[in-house]
């Protein structure tokens, strides 16, 4: 399973890419593989505020709906509209075109609480 070294991770299978004082967020390769067949994505509203671990998006497979959480406190400044037309991007390119949203982080220090690749690899076995 692909777990890129340059990303951070949550226990709930989101990946986080640091971009200045913002973070880009998606779901991991492991998560998309567990879900398979992503058929619908509900993105967060632009400019909404989110608390850490607040459910702000939903990814639905054929079988079930799964909540996606804000990894840290922040504000939604970008959403991946392409997923509305092509939710399968999450399966095909989980770390690339399948990203979900960008959060402007309230306090960059919060990112220290996230997992590095080695810790996430250990979690998913």
């Amino acid at each position: 399973m692909n777990v890129p070294d340059d990303l951070l991770y949550t226990e709930t299978h989101e990946w986080i890419k640091r971009e200045g004082d913002s973070i880009r967020v998606g779901i991991t390769d492991h998560a998309q593989s567990e879900l398979t067949d992503v058929v619908y994505v509900e993105l967060p509203k632009m400019d909404r505020a989110a608390n850490a671990r607040e459910a702000i998006a939903v990814v639905e497979s054929v079988k079930a709906a799964s909540d996606i959480y804000a990894p840290v406190k922040g504000k939604v400044v970008e959403i991946n509209k392409a997923l509305e037309a092509d939710p399968g991007l999450i399966n095909r390119e989980p770390f690339g075109q399948g990203w979900l949203f960008v959060l402007k982080v309230d306090s960059p220090a919060d990112l220290a609480k996230l997992k590095d690749a080695a810790a996430y690899r250990q979690q998913i076995g």
Partner: protein, 374 residues
Amino acid sequence: MSTFRLGGVTETAQKTTPLYEEHVRRGARIIPFGGWLMPVQYTSIVEEHQAVRNNIGVFDISHMGQFIVKGAGAGDWLNAMLTNNISKLDVGIGQYTFLLNEAGGIIDDLIVYRIGDQEFLLVVNAACVDDDFNWLNQHRRKEVSLTNRSADFGGVAIQGPRIAELFHALFGPDSELPPRNSIVDLNFKETTVSVARTGYTGEDGVEIFFRAEIATKLWNAVLEKGEKLGIKPCGLGARDTLRLEVCYPLNGSDLSPEHNPIEAGLGFFVDLSKPSFIGRDVLQRTKENGPAQKLVPFRMEGKGPPPRPHYTVFSNGERIGEVTSGTLSPSLNYGIGMAYLSAPQAKIGTKIEIEIRGQKFPATIEKKPLYKKS
């Protein structure tokens, strides 16, 4: 994402079928279902679904219960226990039917095959084996014997348009595919298996019932012979999307003791001309007065999330019922489902709304089946 809720059922399960090791060995994702650990998918629900619609797929149905009822008057007794009419069955034919409680509520839906003049095979839902057995046993007449052979027998469903090719590859070019709803005994290796031309996917196919010892041998033979036909081992996920596209009900979701077969729109499998069977009087009244609620299929309009069980259904701002089954249809590529709605609104073509995470999405009541082979 917090948890992967691919299964929808969260009770702890312990029982495994004789094919469990094969499922694990072939990389299936396992979930608890009705007290069993079963494969929900091997590779992808959509791929497995398409294999069944376009070529062929095979399912482990060993978790389903198998009862043998026999003895003098077995047919008469079953006719008093089940809704459909046993006397219409010649030896070697099966029918879909219901087991009801005194209030007409559905305990289970099942297939009964007449396998001898006074001998019957009942194939019941996995989660209902104990309830069904106890209910039947409680009402059993002393000259009739009832045996639960589930632990010693397995089953597979082989479904899809290429069934004839696979059947002949398995049983020899001269063997004859049984006609629809028929069941025959055939030789496989050194044993006898029962092959029924039945299934629950809306495709042509067979269900094979066999002694548990040969489960692995048969399963692997099916996959090997089916390889050049594009066969896929399939899980419960594809089984659910396939059955829902053709509006076959799932007990525990669309059927329950709170509803009777008339409300479920399945009166075709109830013979009210029979003088008596458990639940008959309630069904007669429901038929005369019209049901208060009806189970109807619907489709989502436009782009929106797929419907799921327990979502609320509205019409003109008024709550009219609840979704019992829902998914994104892999064949139709839009959201489909079934819901119990108050009868006046439960009419084909009626516009309804499904509430999903606080927002209402438009849908339309359709006629059965939602998917029809072109």
